[in-house]
Amino acid sequence: MSDKVDPTPRIPRRLFIKRASLAAAGLTLGAAGLAACGDPTATSAPATTAASSGGTTAAGGASATTAAASTKQFSGELKLLQWVSFVPAADDEIKRQAEEWGKKNNVKVTIEPIPGNEVQPKTVAAIEAKAGPDIIQMDYNWPWLYETALADMTKEYNALKTQLGGFQAFMEANSIVNGTPRAIPYCIVPGAWVYRKSWFKEAGIDKFPENWDQFYDAGKKLKAANRPMLQTMGQTFGDAPGMWYSFLWEHGGKEVMEDGKTVAINSPETLMAVEKAIAIYKDCFTPDVLAWDDNSNNKAFQAEQISATLNGASIYLTAKKQNAPYLADMAQAIQPAGPQGRAATQLNKTHAVMGYSKNQDAAKEFVSWLMQPDQYNKWLDVGGAYSFPSAKLYEKNPVFDKDPVLLPFKDTLAYGRNVGWPGPPSAAATQAFSKYLIVNMFAGAAKNGDAKKVIADTEAELVKIYGAKK
């Protein structure tokens, strides 16, 4: 599975290059460059001192993997592809940690953040090229979709599970693919509504809506006051599924049955949800939301154009950092409930080591090291309650109680579900997610107003993916 790049396939290319006699000057230079890029790990590494790794072990507590690492020697390079976090300080911290680990282990570790929406295309491109980042930070249950391209993480997973008191159940389900752990659960980014208290009061709304009917009434008033509360209906990785999968579930709709095979989207419950979404779009939203990505609501809130939106804690944290004039006016609230109570699609992230990586052992060790208390707690602190832990041990970190405004985020954790619920995590569920079928169902209906037709279309698309219909 792992594609050890040996020099043999390079030879025919060189021959071919030589035959292109007239372009020789330019192209031979190319071959030299290629050869140089080809084996970045060729140089032998000085031995890692037992002392430095030992230090980590001592600080990190009784970690099986880390202990084992003190005898291991690494070299070469590691690249970790991840999203650009909404809390820049968290990215800085992980870069610092990468440097620290890299220095100790004689590995050049590079963290490469790109916009969240770009991570998936880059992942597929890398898998197809059988080259690229050694570690990819995946969203939701991507490991299911790319199972065969990922390294087996059984040993590391089990060691961490024991050490850290277990992982969140829904993240465990995302990471263990057909019985084999393919990724290490890293964190959860929960969503809650952030709103302007005074603007709500001025519009005659006392507190944040508890259910979707109240939400509709409030939204109507706020739109009339030219301070709408908005949430994206666009094709974007975090905020859109966070809103619309939950909205569907809270009304009793679901894309598939418990078997994870039988499509169940075409139901009265779905129809109810979609019709309510149409009303909300028409009377509370503006067309902007159809094109919004994950950053748009942050910007609109900062520009003081909207009164509320569903997001991670980043809008509040950024306002706090910048000491924005409206900081004191901000509050957070849990997502309104539907007829079936509450549900939440929590954006969650796992670290997967790629099967093509030439430095898999180092990658696995690094990923495990990131989970150790010294690193992980610091990273949580810097994040300021933006990211929540995947592992039970870290839930007690005081950062989550520090700022009372952010407490609602903690409450949302109880409602976490996977895309594809109530079916088990599967490649099909991720496929449906990647095509934004659920989000587009709501957006499409909002735009053209024909709930039944849009649901039928979505059903047809889902059947193509899952294979069967109720």
Partner: protein, 294 residues
């Protein structure tokens, strides 16, 4: 270059009428075109010299002018991003792929324009058609080819694939130039015992230099401009070109970062703008030669 104009030559009538006509039917439309075509560049420039506060929070100020000019966005760009690395990558890739394409294009253009051989017309057509094969048609299979050669995430993935659209263009453009070089000169040299290569090298190519410069500036701007292959075939930050670097690394998540993006867009345009300023005549000549002689 400028030629007496036929339409206005004909306009007769009072001086006054002429002036009004000139303003109404010439200056106003021209000014409209210029404003629409150039406003985005003005806006780019203005944005890049503003502070974040002025860009996003100050709602009283006139946005069309800079209240308190600052270099902050540029400094941030250099400090916080790998812009310089992307710039070097883009220069290297553009120069190398332009060089390869020019060498191939000059030779192929010469052969197709001046030599008689079996299959010449078929090859000329094939090259014309391959120019019209868009990058977007082939990016998926090309990815397999790039992997096969082990080029993924190296500059060579682009240096070797950009010629797929540069060579046909250079060849096609240069065919026109080579056709216009008189055959007698070369024939005389051949009779004097020069080899074909010498005749080409010493006689035809020097006479086609204007065409080669046109091809050069075209190839350079096209490689500088390329986005799709760079987006797909490169992965690490240290390998990116400017267009990909800007779209993938400068958009911050927590707050807008248009100041830096505009600064990067300006700096990323400067090299092509300079190349173009020096070679604008050749660029226009190439544009017309390409268009006229097709």
């Amino acid at each position: 270059m400028s030629q007496a104009n036929p339409t206005l030559h004909m306009v007769r009538g009072s001086r006054w009428g002429y002036r009004v006509q000139r303003v109404l039917f010439f200056w106003i439309p021209l000014a409209t075109f210029l404003i629409v075509l150039l406003f985005p560049f003005y806006w780019m420039l203005v944005t890049s010299f503003k502070t974040d506060r002025e860009l996003y929070y100050d709602r009283k100020a006139n946005p069309f002018i800079v209240g308190a000019p600052t270099m902050e966005q540029y400094l941030q760009l250099f400090e916080k991003s790998s812009f310089v690395v992307w710039l070097m990558n883009t220069i290297f890739i553009s120069v190398a792929s332009t060089a390869i394409s020019l060498v191939c294009g000059v030779l192929a253009g010469y052969a197709l324009a001046r030599l008689r051989f079996k299959g010449a017309s078929f090859l000329a057509l094939a090259i014309f058609i391959s120019y019209l094969v868009p990058q977007t048609l082939l990016f998926l299979p090309l990815q397999d080819v790039v992997r096969g050669f082990g080029l993924y995430d190296t500059p060579w993935a682009l240096i070797l694939t950009y010629p797929t659209f540069l060579i046909p263009f250079c060849t096609w453009l240069l065919m026109g130039y080579f056709k216009s070089v008189p055959f007698e000169l070369e024939e005389a040299a051949l009779i004097d015992g020069a080899s074909r290569f010498t005749a080409m090298w010493r006689i035809a190519i020097p006479l086609a230099v204007p065409g080669i410069l046109s091809a050069l500036i075209f190839a350079f701007t096209l490689s500088w401009n390329e986005f799709l292959y760079a987006l797909i075939f490169l992965s690490s930050s240290a390998q990116k070109t400017i267009p990909v670097g800007i779209t993938s690394e400068l958009f911050r998540a927590d707050a807008p970062s248009y100041g830096q993006i505009m600064a990067a867009a300006i700096l990323g345009s400067v090299p092509v703008a300079i190349a173009y300023a020096f070679l604008v005549e050749y660029y226009v000549a190439g544009l017309s030669a390409g268009a006229v002689k097709g």
